[in-house]
Structures are given as C-alpha cells and as structure tokens.
C-alpha cells in the first residue's frame, strides 16, 4: 500500500531546522496534500522528494526502493513549479518533448506523444508558441503536459495555483484533479491554501514548524482537528476556553454538553465550534434558552450573514444562511444559541 515513505527525515539549513523527524506514508494513486503556512517545511519536503536537496538525516523510499541519494534525473518524479518553469528559449512542442528527447525516444514517437499530450491538456495547435505568448493557465497546462508525456511514477505540484487569478484558480483546481484522476498518478500537492487542499485531496498532512501535526481525509482534518493550530488554520473557528467535565465542558458557569470526549477531566480545554454549526434564535421572554447571548455585530455577506455574538463572557462567530425563514437579528438583540454536542470538538 505504501508508495512514498519518509522515515525520520530531518533537514537543517545551518542552524535552522526546516523539517524535523518527518514520517509520511503516501499511497499509490492518491492525491496527497502538504498543507501549512509559509515556512512550515512543506516545500522543503517536496524538494527532498524531487531530489533537489538532500535530507540531513533519514531516508525516503518509493515503491520500497531507497531513493534518498539518487539524483533528480534518476527518480522518475515529475514536478510542476510555482512559476511553471517553462523553458523560454523553446516553443511549447520542444518543452513537452524535452523529457522524451532526454530519454532518446524516436522522433516519430516523440511527435505522436507530444501531440497527444497537447490534446490531453486542451492545447492542440499551440505547439509553435513560446512561453511569453501563453497565459498563466496555459503555462500550467504546458508544465503538466511536459510531465505527463514521460509518465512519471509521482507528480509533485508546488503551489501551482498561487500565480493565477481567482477565477482561473477555481477552474484549474478541478482541471488538475480531473487529470490526476484520469491518469491515476500518485500526486503530492503543496499548498498554503486550505480550500485547495480540502477540495482536491484524498488525504492531507497539515504541517507547522517543520513537523506534521495531523494526517487525514479532508473531512477528518476539518471536522476533527487534533490541535488548536489546525482548528484555527483550517476554516473559520470558534475556540471557547473552558474546563473539561465528565460529559461536558464548563464554560464559565454553563455546562456545554459534548460527545465522545476522552482524556482526563478537570483540565483546561478549548471547545471548537465551527460558525456554520451554530443555530441562532431570537429569545422570547418566557423561554429558557440553552445558551444565552447578545448580538454584538452583524456583517452582511450576500449569501450569508455573519454575526458576532457575546456569550458566557466570550465571543463567537455565527454564520446564518441568508434565507427569509431564518432570523435576522439586529446588533443588541438577545439570542439563544444551539449546536449539537457532536458539533463541538474538545482540543487540549
């Protein structure tokens, strides 16, 4: 099952440790993302796998074979760079043919494969163009075609969408994912953009300060983050500080029920509740609400309204879809807040 494996890989540049004791396990055919803020070591990890930098200690295996000391040209790994690295002195055809030429392929075969690759990425007829005549999205297609023709075992993508505008980014996200699925190539994708990682990945490794904090599917990472860092880095989050009880978290003098919490009671914890998991209702005089709060601020965002609500001495963000049957509450209004126990995640 394991296809790409990192065993205790550490990389230090002088005194700075970029990656520390990294263990990773990527499966064959998987779309695997390395997600983290800039400087978290994700690009260093990718460059070690590509063979551009050598680990200080540890080993990297592909297919059970130790590739730690192989040069990049011996690895059968393709990489798409942030700026695509299209050779500016060659036209699109020669760019895509580069790897085949290096492999000493026959000219007729090269022609056939390059034409097929151009068609696959939707750039038929662009063979004569040069890099300066291509848009950002087209450059990316060329960069990908250049790799796909040599049929590498692994595809590495280093923040490939960050140089594109927003609309193009959305389009390319699905395009890359589709190509990856149809080719079935094991893909490792480096990004600092959580929405890219969530939409495209089969699994995500969240990194910070040179270490992997959590590996899991997008659902696991978003709904069950294992640390405050991930809870705050991925998506919008409310972190309520409280004290762990037997089946609840005590926030101030309110006991908020939680489900499936483990670990010692009576410890300081944070309770994560995502803004879209909370329901807001106006409070009527004769009602005893579950949690009582007061709207501090309201932001209109078109498809939804975002409320800042004060409750139990802390502030919560709540997202309410913009629908006539849901309450619209002016700042200052008393509200009650509801969420299901399983919507809360206890973070220690």
């Amino acid at each position: 099952m394991s296809f790409v494996e990192f065993f205790g890989v550490t990389k230090a540049f002088g005194r700075t440790v970029a990656v520390e004791e990294l263990n990773l396990d990527v499966r064959q055919g998987e779309f695997f993302s390395l997600l983290g803020p800039s400087g978290c070591g994700k690009s260093t990890t990718l460059r070690m796998l590509a063979g551009f930098i050598a680990p200080s200690t540890g080993a990297i295996h592909v297919h059970g074979r130790d590739i730690t000391h192989l040069p990049p040209e011996g690895r059968d790994i393709g990489i798409v760079f942030q700026n695509y690295a299209i050779f500016p002195h060659m036209n699109v055809f020669d760019n895509i043919a580069f790897g085949l030429v290096e492999r000493g392929e026959d000219r007729a075969i090269i022609k056939r494969k390059v034409d097929a690759a151009l068609e696959q990425v939707g750039l038929s007829g662009y063979g004569e163009r040069y890099e300066r005549e291509l848009s950002g999205g087209q450059k990316q297609r060329v960069a990908l075609a250049r790799l796909l023709v040599i049929e590498p075992e692994i595809l590495l993508l280093d923040e490939p969408l960050s140089a594109l505008d927003k609309k193009m980014r959305e389009e390319m996200k699905f395009w890359i994912k589709n190509i990856q699925k149809s080719v079935g190539i094991t893909t490792i994708y480096v990004t600092h953009d959580q929405s890219e990682a969530l939409t495209m990945s089969d699994r995500i490794a969240v990194m910070n300060q040179g270490q992997v904090l959590q590996v899991g599917t997008p659902v696991e990472i978003y709904e069950h983050p294992n640390s405050r860092f991930i809870a705050e880095f991925i998506g919008e989050s409310n972190l309520l500080s409280g004290r762990m009880g037997r089946d609840h978290v005590a926030i101030g003098d309110t006991a908020v029920p939680v489900s499936g919490a483990e670990g010692p009671t009576d410890a300081e914890v944070a309770l994560l509740v995502r803004p879209e998991q909370i329901r807001l209702e106006p409070v009527f005089a004769d009602e005893a609400p579950m949690l009582k709060g007061r709207v501090a601020d309201e932001v209109y965002q078109g498809s939804l309204r975002r409320y800042l609500v004060e409750t139990m001495g802390q502030r919560l963000t709540v997202e309410v879809p913009n629908r006539p049957d849901l309450a619209q509450l002016p700042p200052g209004a008393d509200v009650s807040l509801y969420w299901r126990p399983e919507s809360g995640v206890v973070l220690r």
Binding site: P72, A85, F87, H89, F98, E102, I150
Partner: protein
C-alpha cells in the same frame, strides 16, 4: 520603455556626453590632418596619416598583436568568468561575498599596481614569462575576467534556477541541463561579457606597460612610445583604427544583446 526626461536633465546629459566624447573627436580630426604635426584644429584634411599608419610596419604589427592578444584574453576570460559567476550565484558558502569582491578587485585596483605586481612577481619567481606574450596574456586575463563575471552574474541573477531543476527532473544530467537550458538563457550575458573582455584587453595600457616586450607591443603601448619621441599624427591615425574596432564591437554587442535589458534585469 518610454521615459520622459526633463529639459535641464537633457541639457546636462548632452553636455556630459560632449565632454566625454570630445577627446575622441579631437583624435579623429587630428588623425585626418594634412599637416606635419599633431595639432588641433587640424591643418586641412587628408588621409596621408591613415596611409602612413597602414604602411607602418610598427603600427600594423602592434595593431594585430593587440587584436590577437585581445582574442586570446577573451577566450580565457569568458570561460573563467562564466565559471566564477556560476559558482558565486550557486554557492551558499560562508564568505562568498568576500570572494566576489576579491574576484572583482582587479577593476578597482589601479592598473599600474596590477602591472607592477605581476612584473615583480614574474621576476622574483624567475618564471621566465616576464616581458613575453604569456605574461602579458596573464595580466590581461586578470584585468578582463571581472567584466565577464559582472555581466554573466547579472544574467544569472535574472535566471530562474527552477528551469534547470525542471530539466533535471525531466531526466537531464547536470551537464545536459546546463547546456540545453541554462546556457541558452544566460548566453546573451556571456556574449556581452566576452566582448567587454575583448574591448578592455584591446585598450589596456597600464598592465601592458609593465609586461610587454619591446619587440611585441600592443597598440596602446606603440602609440605611447611613438608620441614620446615625435609628435607624429600617425598615432592619432592608429587611434582612429582602435576607436573604429571598439565601436564596431560595441555595435555588434548591441545587435546581439540588449545591454539595456540586461542591466535593467539586474536591478529587479
């Protein structure tokens, strides 16, 4: 790129260029004089001193000696300078800035100091190359290489190393990645640097003064020696040929390489 230049700036620039180019203008006119002596303004115009230059064994051999020396210098300075620039751009070694300054120091040091030092060194070590073309060659290489390091360094600063990395991961060996991807992309800088090296060597005076042999003198030394004994306009005529050669190589460079773009890229 269109830039608007204000009028006072324009006048200042023209005045500056005029001041710098005036001596060249003087030499060209003086070389075309009809009179017996090197005077300005010239006493009538004629090509007699040009003819004298072309018939002078001494000047012609000096001209071709300089030409040959400049070509030899260019070849070695280009190879060494390119290699040094590549090393400086890639290394993460401690002290690389000091090393760069050291490599470029021949440009800053007075030529007289370099010439004298080399002369003293050749004599003291008894290498047998003082006052031979080989010693002179070494001096010219020393003096010209920094110009190659500078221009190739500028080209490399604008060069994206990920191009070479992309070539490597597509299956190219280090040498093939360099030859097929890096070299074509820094080629303009190398061409410009090699032509600079040629020009610098061709016009070199101070280093040559110490290192050249009496029977094989580069053109600047021959002109200097000739003017010491007689105020003969043929030196100015020789100057015209030197100016023509240098101007031609600059124009050639400009055709091959967009120097302005190269310098602008360095500022990014």
């Amino acid at each position: 790129m269109e830039r608007r230049i204000s009028l006072p700036m324009l006048i200042l620039a023209i005045a500056g260029f005029a001041y710098m180019l005036f001596p060249i203008f003087v030499v060209v006119l003086a070389g075309l004089t009809a009179g017996e002596f090197l005077t300005f303004p010239p006493e009538g115009l004629s090509l007699r001193w040009i003819a004298a230059f072309l018939q002078s064994e001494k000047y012609l051999s000096a001209f071709f000696f300089s030409f040959r020396l400049a070509l030899m210098t260019m070849v070695v300075a280009t190879v060494l300078g390119t290699a040094a620039a590549l090393f400086l751009s890639r290394t993460r070694m401690v002290g690389r800035n000091a090393m760069r300054a050291f490599f470029l120091s021949p440009v800053v040091l007075p030529g007289v100091v370099i010439g004298y030092s080399l002369f003293a060194f050749f004599i003291a070590t008894n290498m047998g190359i003082s006052r031979t073309i080989w010693g002179l060659w070494i001096g010219h290489i020393l003096y010209s290489t920094p110009y190659v390091i500078g221009t190739v360094g500028a080209a490399l600063a604008a060069y994206d190393v990920s191009l070479e990395e992309a070539a490597r991961s597509l299956g190219a060996s280090p040498w093939r990645a360099f030859r097929k991807v890096t070299l074509p992309n820094i080629g303009q800088g190398i061409q410009a640097g090699s032509i600079f090296a040629f020009i610098v060597s061709f016009g070199q005076f101070e280093v040559s003064l110490f290192l050249s042999a009496p029977n094989s003198e580069p053109l600047p030394i021959a002109m200097y020696n000739s003017l010491r004994y007689k105020f003969d306009p043929s030196a100015a005529a020789a100057g015209i040929f030197a100016i023509t050669l240098v101007t031609a190589s600059v124009l050639l460079t400009n055709r091959l390489v967009n120097i302005r773009r190269l310098l602008e890229r360095q500022q990014d």
